[in-house]
Each structure stands twice: as C-alpha cells, then as structure tokens.
Subunit: 238 residues, 2 copies
Amino acid sequence: MGRTTPRRRDRIRAETSSEIKTIALKHLTAGGAEAVSLRAIAREMGMTASAIYSYFDTRDDLITALIADSYASLAGVMEAAGAGGSDTGAADRILAVATAYRQWAISHPEEFRLIYGDPVAGYQAPEDDAVREAEDRACAVLLRLVETGWPVPEHPAAEPYEWADFGDGYTRRVRELFPDLPPAAVALALRTWGRMHGQVALEIYGHLRAQLVDPAKLFRAEMLDLTRMLGADPTTSR
Amino acid sequence: MGRTTPRRRDRIRAETSSEIKTIALKHLTAGGAEAVSLRAIAREMGMTASAIYSYFDTRDDLITALIADSYASLAGVMEAAGAGGSDTGAADRILAVATAYRQWAISHPEEFRLIYGDPVAGYQAPEDDAVREAEDRACAVLLRLVETGWPVPEHPAAEPYEWADFGDGYTRRVRELFPDLPPAAVALALRTWGRMHGQVALEIYGHLRAQLVDPAKLFRAEMLDLTRMLGADPTTSR
DNA sequence: TCATTGACTAAATGCCGTTCAGTTCTTGTA
DNA sequence: TACAAGAACTGAACGGCATTTAGTCAATGA
C-alpha cells in the first residue's frame, strides 16, 4: 500500500520548495539575513510573494528551514573531520574537528550567524526537530572526542556532575549513543563546544579584527590547550 | 574664550539626543533590535520620524550609539569586578570578572546580542571610536588579570608570539598601558576573552537550554580551569 | 465526469527607513 | 534691536517589507 514513487504533484511541490530555499540561501550568503525577503525570492522565481505561503507558513519558517540545512552542513563537516582513520591520534582528531568548525564558519559566515547569532529580529531559537537533530549530531562528534581520552582527571575543585544536571531529552539521547560515558564526560563535551565556539564567534563577528593579524594562530594555541583538557596532549599521545 | 557652560540650545539638543537613546534602549530591551524603529521612537516622543534625522544620520548610527553605551556599561561592570582589593587572590579576581561578564549578559541579553551578535541586518562592526574605547577597556581588564599571574609556563607545542602578530593600533595602546607585558601575555588575554565568551554566547543564544539545567555550574567549571591557564590556580593561590 | 483541493494572482493593510520641500523658532551678530 | 542664518521640526511622499484575503484556474482522485 505504501507508495514508493512520490506522486507527480508531490514531486513538483518538493522541487519548488527546495528552489525557494536555494534562492533564499543565495540571497543569504550574498547579503545577509536581511536580504532574504519573500518578495525578492518570488520576483526571482517569477511568482508573487504570497505564493510562497503555500510552502512556508511565514518568513521565519523559511529561515528556520535554512538554519536546519546549514546546521546539517556544519554537522556533516564536523563528522567527517572527527571520523579520521583509527591510526589518527586523539589530539589530531580534536584539532581536526576544531579546525573544521572554524573553517566552516569562515567559509559560511552568514550561515554561521544564522545558526549561532540572532540575525532575525525577535527570533527565538526554534524548537525545530531538524535543527535539534543537527545540533545533536554536532554534539555527538564532540562526545566522541571526549570518549577517546576518557577518563580525564577532574579539576580538583570542580563540582561533580550527575545526569540530573542535563535536560531530560538530551540525557536520553546521549545515554543511548554513549552508554559508557558518565555525566562528567558530557559536561566536558559541552565545555569543549564552548571553547571552540568562543574564539570563532568573536572572529566571525569581527571582534578580533583590530587585535589579531592571524586569528588562526590564536585558535591553534587555544585548541592545543583544549587537547590537554581532554586528556589527549599531543606531546604524549603521538 | 572656551565656554564652560553649554549653551541652552546645545543643552536641549543633548537632552533630546539622550531621550532618543533612552527610548530606543527601552524598546531594545523590551522587544529586541527589531523593535528599535525610528517611527516608534518618534511616536513616543510626540515627534515625526524624520525629526530624528537631526540627531542621527541614520538608524544604524542610532544603533551604533546604543552599542557604544551598552559596551561601556559592560566594561564598567568588568572593571569593577576586576578591581577587587589587593587582598583578593588572583583566582578570585578572575572568577569575579568572568562572573560579571556572564551576569551582565544574562541581565542585558538584548544589549549583549547587540554588541556581540548581529541583530541589525547587513550591519558590519562599526569603526566607532566610542565602541573601540569600550572594547579596549574590557580588554584592559583581561590584561590586568593575565598580568597578575605572569609569567605563565607556555604550552610546549605553542608557537611564540611577537608584537607583529597584533594590529598596529591595538599593539600601541596595549604597550602604553602595560609596558611590561610581552606579546605572549596579550595572546593569553585574548584567549581568556574567547573562553569566557564561548559559553556565555551559547547560553544567551539558547544553545545550552535543552542540554543544561544550570549553565552557571558549567561556566564555573570552565572558569576554574581558566584560572589554571592564567597561572592562578585557586588551590595554590589561596 | 465532476467536485475537491492545492497553487497561484492581485489587491490591500499596515508597518518600516529615508528623502525632501517647506515652516517655525532660536540664535548670534550687525 | 532688527535681521539673516540655521537648526529643529512637520507632512507628504517613495519604495520596500510581511502578511491576509478573495478569487482564479488547473491538476487530481473518486
């Protein structure tokens, strides 16, 4: 009964929907989020702006779709960088993922801003399943990095972590994927995220422009220290 | 010849200008950057939107003024936190500044987004003197933190830093304020910034909401490790 | 074959930033 | 004190925007 081949109408609909997204993405990368206007997209498609409402309930929904697609692209890049053959050292994998994160941000600045910034006014982080899934994928890459060096000696003064410290849904998904990792390891993965993110965010938003000639150099130094935090110091692991 | 008391007209002008900013800020905190509309501000002031153009050449200029004011407020909070009596340990001062940074962000989320995000479409980080000055003040607070624990043993694999690695103007201002600090210390201060910023940015933009029950706890752990990076481990300095 | 449904248009609503011509009133000076 | 200059402001307009609504038309599935 289940129909394998999509019906003609559904196919056309999917094509139009993806054409809208493609043009929207083009405008985004060309002129930032403000340039994503339903009228401009429709104009380019030879349609009326209101026609787009058959495909996206509102402009924000279209933006959310762009976020989901962009985040999936970032997650893919991170996964590829984190996969590295089994001959790759732990520190190298960490540096590879971090570099991939930064490089993706640099080559897709507007998409990065879309995901991690707030380019759409009054726009609250959407409760979108596709977005959450991409975020989980990115998170999983970091968890895999932590897993390699685990257990890492805790900072003496740090408070212990428990599962109750994390969101319910998140806890469930993490424990399913990484049954052997304790809560403290998850906390470490989130700290890793923050550490990678900090410098990249500052750089993308232009806050290191006047200070640094080569932001990559500072990022390398920071990520090198990160390997230590994850118990994968390159001086000992290679 | 120099007139000390401002003329009546100048005074009124300054008052109107600051009233515009006050209302703009009110709308910002209430509804995000999108809510800062010249028409809405003028409406509230009993004026026409075009009247505002006597005070700010464009909406973006008004936004830039808001950024400068907000950044100055953040810098002030950081300075206060970093001042701590001479009896305060180095680690405590670091934690105080970091906590101040995060707390300010949490209590002024829209201003934080204004400074470090990209709420205004197609808006490039302005080359505004007042903004740069506030950024320098915040930077100076971090440099003072680094200064306390300096010298910190470098990570073995890290590349050495030279003054040529930094922007010209920035280098000049830093060396004037901190004649004794070497380039590597400046690099460490910028890394400190990135590390503080990373988690706070993720939190403010809602990216830790689904994951963490208490983001402050993770931030504490990260900042505790930061004290180590700055050579001010609380276990040894207290 | 035919009623239904989805894609689409056209027009309108009410926002917005910005421009411009014209008005009013304050100001410093002749 | 009279007056020219200029600042502050109004009102109308332009072109842009998201969104809503009523209506058209053709593909669809029973």
